[in-house]
């Protein structure tokens, strides 16, 4: 059985989340938001971290594709 590559899904979800949070952090952060999080623009920083995570997974999936070793068959039924 050949399942799709989970790393791409992780890259997609966190890429999307990261971009949304960065945009909120840069453009839509109120003073009240900042005060709540002790002056840290947490949306911006968390967004950057998520974009980075997304990039790591995307790079990993590109560099080491899932089905490089076609000689190895998964163990089938008993």
């Amino acid at each position: 059985m050949r399942l799709f590559d989970l790393r791409l899904i992780i890259a997609f979800l966190f890429g999307l989340y990261g971009v949304v949070l960065v945009v909120i952090g840069l453009g839509f952060t109120t003073d009240e938001d900042l005060k709540k999080a002790e002056g840290v623009n947490i949306n911006l920083w968390a967004g950057i971290a998520m974009v980075a995570l997304s990039a790591v997974f995307a790079a990993w999936a590109m560099l080491r594709p899932q089905f490089a070793d076609t000689d190895k068959q998964p163990i089938k039924e008993l």
Partner: protein, 563 residues
């Protein structure tokens, strides 16, 4: 978990938070739809065709355990008991996970069994198998119901949806992706859930730490300085004498309870069985052990911080219960106080994701045991594989419907105190199971009769200790508050199981050696226990023993720094 005080916990979720939540659920369902395309046999559906890489199964292994009760319970313990809570993660998990990978996986994976009960059947025959399969199936449905109820309570508190609606919606989502994609979808989603949970808890911890003044701030502000050190954990165990408290922790939690849970609970072991090779199967629990060792940083520390900075929590800790909050409310309260919209949506998503992970793990292990161990073994044998694939799908639907039922029972019982007890009870059923397994794996003489008699004797011991130590039953012969009673119950159940199994073995007939090849240590050739070290299993960094030693060393260092 007590009934949450709603008005206090209602989060100020905005459209953007809901949007992030909806995106997540769309991806979760998408994984189910995509995974469906690679399901063509029952083994694909129930065991992912044994094709998954170790990092996926390893993260799923840990995520399957990061359910509602774990997350709420351990942040609550952090707030209530402080650093002693780390024992649940370190001594209470890491050694057992390494042991599962290095010592037990060769038999589970090498013998090609499809479930833990199936190992039981091959080693001890039908009576032991039936006891194990039925009790596991029943436990999974009950625990799925508890998880579902906990999930509904939190949705109700956070977002204001009525309980029945959230129970059904959550069950439908889990049902949709597990019926479509089977274990693969459950496991892929568990890995995704792991990252979302971390993405939810890490910002919360960081902002909390800044607010409280860093680790130094915690050290200064915690009034009960004993809570800053993990040992001797007298509050946690309920055992006043420090030496006995440590012995209780090491033997009760560190050995019997934790080995019982991690090595015989099929909801966990199934993740390793779905790995694509012996090496990947051995590495599964060990890879999972690394995040397990580190995750207390974003679970227990928020708990400790909440007790310092959330006014209601500080009141509760000082003994004032008037605000109506419970220790279980740590995460929602912190989210309310610290997170602005945007990251708040991620945190809500992470919390709901974690709760669904628990339910999905229960359901996906239930359907395997039901299909292979109950239906195929006792009801309809020798049908073509498509038949069992269909039964697997139907079992998933059945499990979700039954779990909705048990969730409503939990709701009707008024809060989940009783369900917590059921959970505790099942958790120490694992102790005798572990005794039987470990004896059976290393002692070829052990007989089939000893298998089931020992198991029953151990289980009844656990129930007996529970009955005479639980205050609400009114026959309180043993006074052990905290976790002491379950440590003692599990320890005694283990000992009784071993003693009874040995005694029964002496007077009954063992199985011939030829039937035990691959199941017992002395009868399994070394090459059958070894893993390949070529292709995708090559490289020193993929050595299970090295990785296992590494995580044990890491845990020791962590104990020296934070213990």
């Amino acid at each position: 978990m007590s009934v949450l005080a709603e008005a206090d916990l209602r989060l100020d979720a905005g459209p953007i938070d809901y949007a992030l939540l909806v995106i997540y659920f769309a991806v979760v369902l998408g994984i189910g739809v995509m995974a469906r395309r690679s399901v063509s046999t029952s083994l694909d559906f129930l065991l992912s065709g044994r094709s998954l890489p170790a990092w996926v199964t390893g993260l799923a292994f840990i995520s399957a355990n990061l359910g509602a009760l774990e997350l709420m319970g351990m942040t609550a313990n952090g707030a209530q008991y402080g650093m002693a809570t780390v024992h649940y993660y370190w001594i209470g998990a890491i050694p057992a996970m390494v042991f599962l990978g290095l010592v037990m996986m060769p038999f589970y994976y090498g013998s090609k069994v499809r479930s833990v009960p199936e190992f039981m059947r091959r080693r001890f025959g039908k009576p032991a198998h039936l006891v194990n399969a039925i009790s596991f199936a029943v436990a999974q449905i009950l625990i799925a119901g508890i998880n579902l109820f906990a999930l509904a309570v939190i949705i109700d508190a956070l977002l204001g949806w009525p309980l029945p609606v959230s129970i059904c919606v959550a069950a439908l989502v889990v049902l949709a992706y597990t019926t479509l994609g089977g274990l693969s979808a459950a496991i892929y989603n568990e890995v995704l859930q792991f990252f979302v949970i971390v993405a939810a808890l890490a910002p919360l911890t960081i902002v909390g730490l800044i607010k409280v003044g860093g680790w130094q701030g915690i050290v200064e502000k915690v009034t009960d300085k004993e809570q800053l050190s993990a040992w001797p954990a007298t509050e946690l165990t309920g055992i006043d004498h420090p030496v006995w408290s440590v012995i209780g922790l090491v033997f009760g939690l560190g050995f019997v309870l934790s080995f019982g849970y991690w090595t015989t609970n099929f909801a966990e072991v199934q993740r390793a069985m779905s790995a694509k090779s012996m090496s990947a199967a051995k590495r599964t629990p060990i890879i999972g052990a690394y995040p397990k060792a580190l995750i207390p940083a974003i679970i227990i520390i928020p708990g400790i911080i909440a007790a310092l900075i959330v006014p209601e929590m500080a009141q509760l800790k000082a003994g004032d219960t008037s605000s109506g909050v419970a220790y279980n409310d740590v995460l929602p309260l912190l989210m309310r106080d610290l997170l602005p919209n945007g990251i708040l949506g991620i945190a809500i998503t992470g919390l709901l994701a974690s709760f669904m992970a628990g339910v999905a793990a229960n359901v996906s292990s239930f359907n395997t045991v039901f299909t292979y161990d109950l239906w195929q073994d006792y009801i309809k044998k020798d049908k073509p594989d498509e038949y069992y694939l269909r039964i697997g799908r139907l079992a998933t639907v059945g499990a979700c419907v039954l779990a909705i039922g048990t969730a409503f029972i939990a709701a009707a019982l008024g809060g989940s105190n009783i369900m917590d007890y059921i959970q505790a009870l099942f958790s120490f059923f694992n102790a005798p199971l572990f005794a039987t397994f470990i004896l059976g794996m290393f002692w070829k003489r052990m007989t089939p009769t000893a298998g089931w008699v020992g198991l029953l004797a151990g289980t009844f011991t656990a129930i007996f200790i529970y009955a005479i130590s639980e205050p609400s039953f009114g026959i309180e012969l043993l006074e052990l508050p905290g976790q002491g009673a379950s440590f003692l119950g599990a320890g005694l159940a283990f000992v009784v199981d071993i003693v009874v199994s040995v005694a029964v073995t002496m007077v009954t007939r063992p199985k011939p050696d030829s039937e035990l090849v691959g199941l017992v240590y002395s009868l399994t050739p070394k090459k059958d226990r070894a893993h390949a070290t070529t292709g995708e299993d090559a490289g020193w960094y993929r050595s299970p023993a090295l990785l296992g030693g590494g995580v044990l060393a890491l845990t020791t260092v962590l104990y020296f720094i934070f213990g």
